[in-house]
Symmetry: C3
Subunit: 349 residues, 3 copies
């Protein structure tokens, strides 16, 4: 195990607020799934459907919600095992590159100010009059434009672009290839020609936001595109100009949010959803995958489908949809029967 | 206001062809929305639904289509206020970085030719035998491959890739992360193996095209993928090999256009649309968001839905779709009634 | 023709296993479509609908499945003309930039090992303890993180990011802007806050895989995201954490594959498809464009639509869908008729 960090089960249990069944002094080197864990690793067991895996796993210990009597080795019992695993995994997460400081092959404009313990890798760029907080990490190919502010501890992954005048909070993670602050899509028709409406607004990203890889968050036309604190976005998501996304909202991959949409707090938006211009989505609403939302969604509503309706109605509808051929046949038979009835009555009149 | 460029209302009015009501010598520092404008800024007022904002806005002046009598300060009246705002906003748009020339941390192959007043930022790359027009700006991470031509005044944003042998016109804007000229998706099955069909065509982008962030425009297989002049594309759009997009066509975010599709001029394609292989779309057609287009669309047609049909029919259809449970219940009731009728008639026979 | 490589028709015929009709010593400089070929080029003729083009093409020779008697010049007849064209085109494909070796403006960490004949362009980056195979090409802006393995002959295009601990096989092509190994989208709710589940797994990409531009392939949460040999992916595709994609499977642009999905071998997935969490897709299945797949798909099944059903049923359903207004009207008419019948019977009782 040389070279790997290890922690005792007692240490892990203390971190996650759990209790050890077995030998608390046992040292483990990581967290991995039941199928993949080695004899030095701990594995989560949170779903009784996988009970069979307890016989075949090589893991030396489990993290469980309640004791698994059939498991012959060690266990940590904890109230919320998923949350405990998340915390435990962080203990063992591979450390970022040993490199520290500002590399000579990076470019930092002399007018910009860097906080303490900032890491700027080769090939990263910081423009004029920007302010980079303490402990920020800029990976290779990270572009930070002019007059950008980046808060403490934020990580800007490779080939991310943060364009001029945008602000990014503290503890934010921007995954590779993401673009913050490209121009919104705004044109005015002048005869056959689309005249560009200069997009002179900005993007504001609050603390503890995480944005996945290859996303695009456009700057406001005249105002601000605003991603509020704790928002989590998956990959390849489009956020158009002047959108507001409320605190703690979660958006799954490949969803597109059109201009000036307002999404409330604690909302869950599925993957490949489209939300039309100027629509509002209330707090804690849920929008199913692939939905097309053209009308406002109220607080706490659960909607699905295109056009989006209540999830319950959509379940019924989509089931009937695949039975349309049957329905069509039933109507044809009714028509025949009714026709026969008519003729029968007519014949007797 | 020191440090900001300001312009008088007279200057703004002259630029947009409007007339000032109030003090034309007043100097303003920018254009912003009614909600966000400061006392030094001018705001558009183009939608009477927001009449109430005229009482609360801090803007010192409005751009309006017709005089707003209730507004106590200055106004510029102009025939097409949206267009006027676009033009006025350009006056105040933040200037690109003060940097000029070719930075030592950029790479330009010695065989390539650069026009006058070209700006090449640190970390930009130009390969062999390429020709870069006057006043072109290449941002950090911009990649320009071998034998590429880029016309005058074109802006290549950070982390854009323009691969070998592609040509880009004048006045083009390529937003961050976009890829021009990756290989088209072409394979021939040989048993269980997909044999790559070398993509030896190119991409041609004409003048005044704007392509959003993180788009992909593939090179032709044997021929050319061609984006004609004045086309405007939003973010995260896929254009496959050998597609032709006609003059002035507008495509909204996350749309995918399959191989060899021909789109006419002045077409509007909504967001998240899919257009199938070899389909043609006529001039000035309109395609609604999330549509799935597998058959040709005629000139001037307006289509929506999957499979795409006339927008009018789609509106009817999608309304009925969510009433399928009701329709199903109506048919069930009819069946019962007809059954009862039958029995009643039979009983009397 | 100076400067261009040329090959005789005999050489081309030998490569593709065909036979020449005409002059085998004729030298050609490339393969292009019938419409675009010059007098020095050879063109495929594989679709009799384009018979008319044989009169107008300038191509000096054809590649055909069977002799085209109306064509007045040379021909190569071969059993599988598409496959032959793919092979012939490779003969003439433009060579990569003349540059070789490791450029001074690249960054390679001293602890990493490079094979023979590796090309590292300016602005490429290789982190700590990575191993780069023989003949690998890293284009500008290519980011290779710590402890990454890249096999022989693999090409990493501009602005691609391969993050720490991922492994990429031999003969792989990663197109521009693609991100391999960003964090999967994993959070545990703790009250109103989403606690990040550290994504400590990796990505494994096997030999001969091709991944299009601006794709995202996330690392496993605790395990491995695995793209098996011969998989071909188009552009802007999302592969979530812990997905497995089987040998030789083909995925078209803008499709999204959710966490822990298992896709078999030889599967064809259309464009803009969404596949839900934990779904399995059997070997040689086919999934139509824009489908929404929430349930398992069996081996060899062909499915389409949202929710996905058998392609045959979906064809029926989608045809009936646009005839819903007609169906609705038929039901309305039945209701009236049945009502009239009832009243008629009641009147007589």
């Amino acid at each position: 195990m040389e070279g790997k960090r290890t922690h005792s089960l007692d240490e892990v249990a203390a971190l996650v607020g759990g209790r050890v069944i077995g030998d608390g002094t046992l040292r483990v080197s990581g967290v991995r799934s039941l199928e993949e864990a080695t004899e030095e690793e701990i594995a989560p067991f949170t779903d009784r459907r996988y009970l069979g895996l307890l016989e075949t796993t090589r893991a030396c210990a489990l993290i469980v919600g309640e004791e698994a009597p059939s498991f012959p080795r060690h266990q940590i019992v904890v109230e919320r095992p998923h949350l405990a695993c998340a915390r435990a995994a962080r203990l063992f997460a591979p450390q970022a590159s040993g490199f520290q400081g500002v590399h000579a092959q990076a470019f930092i404009h002399e007018s910009s100010r860097l906080g303490r313990d900032v890491t700027v890798h080769p090939g990263a760029y910081v423009g004029e009059d920007s302010v980079i907080g303490d402990r920020v990490v800029l990976y290779p190919g990270a572009f930070v434009g002019d007059r950008v502010r980046i808060g403490e501890g934020t990580v800007v992954h490779p080939n991310v672009s943060v364009l001029h005048d945008c602000s990014v909070g503290s503890g934010v993670i921007l995954h590779a290839g993401t673009v913050i602050g490209a121009d919104g899509f705004g044109f005015v028709r002048d005869g056959d020609v689309s005249v560009k409406v200069p997009q002179i607004g900005t993007v504001r990203i609050d603390d503890d936001v995480e944005i996945g890889a290859n996303c695009t968050v456009d700057r406001g036309a005249l105002g601000t595109t605003w991603i509020k604190s704790g928002v989590k976005m998956d990959n390849l998501i489009q956020i158009a100009h002047n959108v507001v996304v409320g605190e703690g909202t979660v958006i799954v991959a490949q969803t597109g949010v059109s201009g000036s949409v307002e999404i409330g707090r604690g909302v869950v938006v599925g993957g490949q959803v489209g939300i039309g211009d100027h629509v509002s989505v209330g707090d804690r609403a849920m929008i199913g995958s692939q939905a097309g939302v053209a009308k406002p969604v109220g607080s706490g509503e659960v909607v699905s489908g295109t056009p989006a309706v209540s999830h319950r109605l959509w379940l019924k509808t989509s089931r009937l949809l695949t039975r349309l051929p049957v329905l069509n046949e039933r109507v044809r038979r009714l028509e025949k029967t009714v026709d026969a009835l008519m003729r029968r009555l007519d014949g007797r009149d």
